[in-house]
Amino acid sequence: MHFVKRLLLSLAPRYGLLAVVALFTTFPFLWTLATSLGDSGNIYAFPPQLWPENPTFAHMQEARRAIPLDRFFWNSVWISGWTVAGTLLISALAGYALAIMRFRGSKWVFAAVLATLILPSELNFIVNFITVTQLKLTNTHTGVVLPLLANAFGIFLLKQAFEEIPAEVLDAARIDGATEWQLFLRVALPLAMPALAALGIFTLVATWNTYIWPAVVLQNPDEYPLAVGVLYLSGTFAAKTRVVAAGTVLTILPVLLLFLMAQRYFMRGLDGAVK
């Protein structure tokens, strides 16, 4: 009993500190949620009412009525969906070639891919806008998606995943007469599923949250994804804090749920980025 008591006492400061930090990182979310659900009263009341007395979804409905949140949602789904699909395909193809195939110039290609990591990319932003303008893709989702498909991180992550496939497995398939394409589709891709899942979720969260690039490419609010639309909402309803809070909650909810469900893969993607 003494031992248990001592253990608890020694752990108390640690848990106390962690709880304070957790409150610090999550408080803005909790406050926003409470504000969006509360029905009336001073939103800045102190101490904050994190459990509203009469919770209501009225503000959510008002936000959805006043601003095309549903449309923004589908725009986000569309943009993120294509970005994820494209990134996975492009990174898998390139990663496979670099990991498995033997060809002249492979070292140079890999160096070029890695070089994009150290290229001074601040210029990209403005020239990419010029490129997208010249391709007549401003105000289109294609214009938003296209530059996002290129990244050394994805190629690198999948190259590493393919390298872990034992040579015997590939050789066996080759002896059975599989073409390179069949090898890629039937052997390599299924074995790289965990890495594909990690990259997919990582890309999805990143794209869902991208703000600046879509805000630059898209001029027509009808095409906005949620991350851009929500600021549009807060600009229009600056005085109606509860409605803006409701719109904000609706904006974060999908990606937050996804993150909570797929945390494991997400962290693995981050791990892959370090190694």
């Binding site: 408080f27 290129a150 949250n209 904000t248």
Partner: protein, 292 residues
């Protein structure tokens, strides 16, 4: 035989084509073209019409007090780096133990990382409001006697924005440090315990040296991020009040997409780029993947 290897080469490049085309178009090309266009008066609708003006853009840049202010603010912004690294490492150590509820804490710390900057800007706008939570708490604790203008006082606004950068990045670096901590071999720790090293000695003599690669990586990543910081500025202050929150990258963004002065925007981003490049190059020297 050579025919076969030619076919091999060809199919490999077919696999690589989509990646290479996009990387070229949106990574290599903009860097090259941008570096050239920074010396011209850009016509974004007809690049061929861009007129060579030499160093003119840079001259106007360095004559602009707002730009000079941005340099100062960007340097100040680097203060975030040590603060965030120490806090993230401390959190990682605390949360890396085999104790109940640690996963829950990690998740709570990571949630800001997966939130879009626009939402972050809105939420912190409320926190920083004159009647907002931060002022309420400080007034209640009697640490201030009047509400602080977190985003409206030009002496404070930049620090308020930096604080949000800290809040957003904490969980991210914590996860990287956890990965680093888990790579520290258990046997070394145990040997040190047998030798009678206390917890503090173990941390300084074993954990920190073993974490060196992670420490360097995280420090450089966050230095680069602080160097380029501007999204928080866009969504929270728009550079104000009185231009006090302009960072270099925000200046470039602002010149391009609000003032539509693409020439000056490109010149400004070339300056950020060069500084970023030096930092990234150092980063790359330390962490070349085939080095580990």
């Amino acid at each position: 035989m050579s025919k076969k290897s030619l076919r091999q080469d060809l199919s490999a490049y077919l696999f690589l084509a989509p990646a290479l085309i996009i990387l070229f178009l949106f990574s290599f090309w903009p860097v090259g073209l941008g570096a050239v266009l920074a010396f011209t008066r850009v016509d974004i609708f007809n690049l061929a019409q861009s007129e060579w003006v030499g160093l003119d853009n840079f001259r106007t840049l360095f004559e602009d007090p707002v730009f000079i202010g941005s340099i100062k603010n960007t340097l100040l912004y680097l203060l975030v780096v040590p603060v965030i690294q120490i806090a993230a490492l401390a959190l990682a150590v605390l949360v890396n133990a085999q104790l109940p509820a640690m996963k829950l804490f990690r998740t709570a710390f990571f949630v800001p990382v997966v939130t879009s900057v626009s939402v972050v800007g809105i939420m912190w706008g409320w926190m920083y409001n004159e009647d907002g939570m931060l002022n309420q708490v400080l007034l209640w604790l009697r640490l201030v006697d009047a509400p602080v203008g977190w985003l409206s006082d030009e002496r404070i606004a930049l620090f308020s924005v930096m604080f949000v950068t800290f809040w957003r990045g904490l969980g991210y670096y914590m996860v990287l440090y956890i990965a680093g901590l888990q790579a520290v071999p258990q046997e070394v720790e145990e040997a040190a315990i047998l030798d009678g090293a206390n917890r503090w000695q173990r941390f300084w003599r074993i954990t920190v040296p073993m974490l060196k690669p992670t420490l360097l990586l995280c420090t450089l990543l966050s230095t680069l991020a602080a160097m380029k910081a501007f999204e928080e500025v866009v969504v929270m202050t728009g550079g104000g009040p009185i231009g006090s929150t302009y960072t270099l990258a925000f200046y470039a963004y602002d010149m391009g997409f609000r003032a539509f002065d693409f020439s000056r925007a490109l010149a400004a981003s070339l300056v950020v780029s060069l500084i970023g490049f030096v930092l990234a190059w150092v980063n790359f020297r330390f962490f070349r993947p085939d080095h580990r």
